[in-house]
């Protein structure tokens, strides 16, 4: 049996035909064009799903469900998107609307939760508590407990990016000050890099940014690897922010695995080695088995696979 997973993003709609083990057999994508009416977006999502069915030559009777990972706050029971800022939606009946185009059981969940479930499915090693943290525009993620997405009592969990890192600190997009996201997202790292560049006019960060065409989440890491002292300081501070939030997550959840995803995770062990050292020294748990901190492996496929797996949990 198979499931179709759809990852509804602000830029692209990505979808895949996924087998029961979480393997994508075939996938496709199209632009979201998020400013248009949501009904049109959903119509295109269904077209993409139908194309996957045609191209894979899988009989529709072998397809259990369609799962959709959506931005914003969703009602898991009714398939409604209660509110999304990224793609403007409010009380939108996503599951029902989709079914008008393709009559299969539809499950929806938050996109970050789907990514966590996808990463868990392929790389979670059956861990009883698994956390995905993605370092992108924001700090997102999700928590998987005993193979199921942890939703809290109200469906709104988990939002690890919005734990406090510095009480009363930098303004976060969520309205609160001092969230982890305001220090550890790629957006925050770019700001930290730009601030350091403004104070260090001779830094090779300027050369790297010029080659890249912009300041990115890689700029400071690349310059630090070449021995630029201002960049080294940016990276050191950033890793401290990142690791201090990871310690918080460890101390409350004690996950077997924390997988770090998003663009910055591509720094791999250069980043993770320092994070592991800090969390090992500063985690509250000194006597029990320790959390394994790893790089996420699926990148953009995580959301597709997790959405496809929604019907299985």
């Amino acid at each position: 049996m198979y499931n179709i997973g759809i990852d509804l993003g602000g830029t692209n709609i990505a979808a895949g035909m996924v087998d029961e083990t979480g393997k994508i057999l075939i996938k496709g994508s199209m632009p979201t064009n998020r400013e248009r009416p949501t009904d049109e977006i959903v119509s295109d999502m269904a077209l993409l799903a139908k194309k996957l069915i045609d191209d894979s030559a899988i009989d529709i009777s072998s397809i259990c469900s369609v799962g959709i990972g959506c931005p914003g706050t969703v009602n898991l029971e009714t398939g409604e998107i209660i509110y999304s800022n990224n793609i403007p939606m409010e009380h939108y009946q996503m599951a029902n609307k989709f079914k008008e185009h393709l009559d299969l059981p539809v499950r929806i969940d938050n996109d970050a939760n789907c990514a966590a479930l996808g990463e868990y499915t392929v790389n979670g090693n059956n861990s009883s508590v698994f956390v995905l943290i993605t370092l992108g525009t924001g700090v997102g993620g999700g928590v998987i407990m005993n193979g199921k997405i942890f939703h809290g009592f109200n469906g709104a969990a988990s939002e690890p990016g919005h734990i406090t890192l510095i009480s009363g600190g930098k303004q976060c997009t969520c309205g609160k000050k001092g969230c982890w996201e305001a220090y550890a997202s790629a957006t925050a790292l770019i700001s930290q890099t730009e601030e350091a560049m403004a104070l260090n006019k001779n830094s090779i960060m300027y050369d790297i940014a010029k080659c890249e065409g912009k300041v990115s989440g890689q700029t400071a890491f690349e310059a630090a690897k070449r021995g630029d002292s201002a960049a080294e300081q940016v990276v050191k501070n950033y890793i401290r922010y990142l690791a201090d939030g990871i310690v918080s997550i460890e101390n409350v959840f004690q996950p077997e695995i924390i997988a770090i995803g998003g663009g910055i995770s591509k720094e791999g062990d250069y980043l993770l080695k320092s994070v592991r050292e800090y969390t090992s020294d500063n985690g509250f748990n000194k006597y029990m088995k320790k959390t394994n901190i790893v790089a996420a492996k699926l990148f953009n496929d995580a959301g597709i696979i997790g959405a496809a797996m929604l019907s299985k949990i």
Copy 2:
């Protein structure tokens, strides 16, 4: 059927005979005298349990188990205390030692987890996710999910007091800097009160502390209620520290109920009203049902009741 619950504290051993609903039928206590050999402490714990059996006149065949809430890190499977700083113990076979004195099934867990389970049993309203936060010498607590203690993958969860509140901030007793505990415990509040007193020699906090015989967690609250501006600032800052940590807990766990215990929680609505306002304004969840923040009700009985309930989960 009944269970005996024992709360092994640094100062006192408290124990009670508890029925299946979590009601204490009879209870007793004795000093721990924690400097003496642990075998002697355990012998006294068993004496206390036997006295409860005699005094209650309950036949031993009607007693299912003895539950022991212990400080430190415990191995739930083997009944071993791996490490405790409060009462010096290292790899101590608590359950087996206790059984040498009283041959009943013995379950052990961390004392804060037991308190959370006790509070949940009596005041948890069958909530699917319940968190107890205790504001005492430290900030402790535990998480109850679907009626069971949440232990993480390794038995070390949950330590909500050791989430980061101000990265790189005040030294915490755990070794890390900037933990919530270093700002929101009664110990921290007393330091904050003393610092404000040193800067405000005319504050009525001096009069209140003189009457009380010491600066306590109540000093600033009492002075603030009487209009002392320095005390008002202490209370305002303290509530901000407390509420900012609670927002972190809400954003990751989305609990149906967060119960606040420990001495400071006796301030009741004077404290909780401000905490609720802050978390309502600053929580990430704007569209789903909100966490109910309440005062814990059981105080010292929570640990006894929770320990007694260990055999039922």
